[in-house]
């Protein structure tokens, strides 16, 4: 998995570096640097071809759209991962609390029903078996 990303990362870094050099040439252009500029332009095309080839290896990767919003706002995309993990943990704790409460409720209900309907609850317990305490 990591190898796929490594090759893409490498191609992207090369492409960005090429664009940076292109920007330097263009920012103070001299007639003698026309050949260098043409070379950089063709490097850019080959760089795009290389990045396009990586697409075949990454067709099974899905990226959440919310990450793009973070990047578009100039924010660190790791913040999205962080918030996802925090939300997952909070929801996990919330559900666990609900499950624990329901288990307590069940045991109390069985306890009280046993007082009122002892025979029925005895049958129920034979069907269900002894529930573990919550």
């Amino acid at each position: 998995m990591a190898e796929k990303f490594d090759s893409l990362e490498e191609h992207l870094e090369k492409f960005v570096e090429n664009i940076r050099q292109l920007g330097i040439i263009v920012s103070d252009f001299q007639p003698s640097s026309q050949t260098g500029l043409n070379q950089k332009l063709n490097f850019m095309v080959t760089g795009l071809q290389d990045i396009d080839k990586c697409r075949q290896q990454l067709h099974d990767i899905s990226v959440p759209l919310e990450v793009f919003e973070y990047i578009d706002q100039g924010r660190n995309p790791q913040l999205y991962t962080k918030e996802c993990l925090e939300r997952a943990l909070a929801k996990n704790e919330q559900v666990k609390g609900k499950i624990d409460t329901m288990k307590k409720f069940k045991s109390l209900l069985i306890q009280e029903l046993t007082k009122v309907f002892p025979e029925d609850m005895a049958k129920y317990k034979t069907i269900r078996g002894e529930d573990p305490p919550p």
């Binding site: 920007g23 793009f68 100039g74 993990l85 925090e86 559900v95 129920y124």
Partner: protein, 277 residues
């Protein structure tokens, strides 16, 4: 909620779907008192449903409990999926807000919102650029379109060179603060300056002192000092003898510093006396 609605609406017959899920046949509330159907007595419906119904006894709407192996929210899902490392990495320490902290080597101002210069990824997805499916290298004729004028770009176009300001390392500040509560160089510098000032001021002060002393001496020459007796200049006037004349001559020969000073009254007189001898 479906389970709860099924429980509270027990008087009505449950839908076929509910029965298929394992719910027993709908009965009146008093049906619990009826003899429990046994496996032999009940009509043998095919499959597991019949066995369930037989096992349910007097109870209806009885479902099988979820298996203990089923993954629920009661377990810590972060540890279950081995995400503790990721959690500690992202939630343990503060993640820096800006995009430039995530991609420090990317040139240009990447912290600005993409909507400003219409460079957002969202717009790339929503409105993909109209282009061909393949990338072909530029031919010589095509490259003639990229002939540029010589000279620097105007400043408003130099976006590539603008980098977000990087904050200085805080540790360095802390170290300098902790290690050098009082910078050792400053007092020496100030001492140097003071010394220089002193050196510069010294000749002026000396001159001023000299002038003051001269003035004092000249002033005292004609003014009588009650503490030290009659003024020296007036000695010749008071004692008009030969000894008095010699004394006045000797005093005039002596330099003004060696003359009588209020600070060292005995010095000038002793020297004068020695010269007299």
């Amino acid at each position: 909620m479906e389970n709860f609605s099924a429980l509270f609406g027990a008087a009505e017959p449950p839908p076929a779907a509910a029965a298929a899920l394992g719910f027993g046949p709908a009965k009146a509330p008093g049906a619990g008192a009826a003899p429990p159907p046994t496996a032999s007595a009940a009509a043998p419906p095919p499959g597991e449903d019949a066995a369930r119904k037989a096992a349910a006894g007097p109870f209806y709407l009885l479902r099988e409990l979820p298996g203990t192996t089923e993954l629920t929210g009661s377990t810590n899902l972060i540890t279950h999926y081995n995400l503790e490392h990721a959690y500690n990495k992202f939630c343990g320490k503060k993640v820096k807000e800006k995009l430039s902290n995530f991609l420090p080597d990317l040139p240009g101002m990447i912290d600005l919102p993409g909507s400003h210069d219409s460079s957002s990824l969202r717009s790339l997805i929503e409105k993909p650029p109209i282009c061909g499916s393949s990338f072909t290298p530029l031919t010589g004729a095509m490259l003639t379109g990229f002939r540029l004028h010589a000279g620097p770009l105007p400043e408003q176009c130099r976006l590539m060179h603008i980098q977000p300001p990087k904050k200085k390392n805080k540790h360095k500040h802390k170290q300098s603060r902790t290690q050098d509560p009082v910078p050792p160089e400053t007092p020496s510098d100030s001492d140097h300056k003071k010394k220089k000032k002193k050196k510069e001021e010294d000749p002026e002060r000396k001159r001023k002192k000299k002038e003051k002393k001269k003035k004092k001496v000249s002033g005292k020459a004609g003014v009588r000092c009650p503490a030290h007796g009659p003024p020296r200049g007036s000695v010749s006037g008071h004692s008009q003898g030969a000894a008095g004349q010699q004394l006045s001559q000797a005093l005039s020969v002596l330099p003004p510093q060696n003359r009588h000073s209020p600070e060292h009254p005995g010095v000038g007189s002793s020297q004068a006396s020695s010269s007299l001898r």
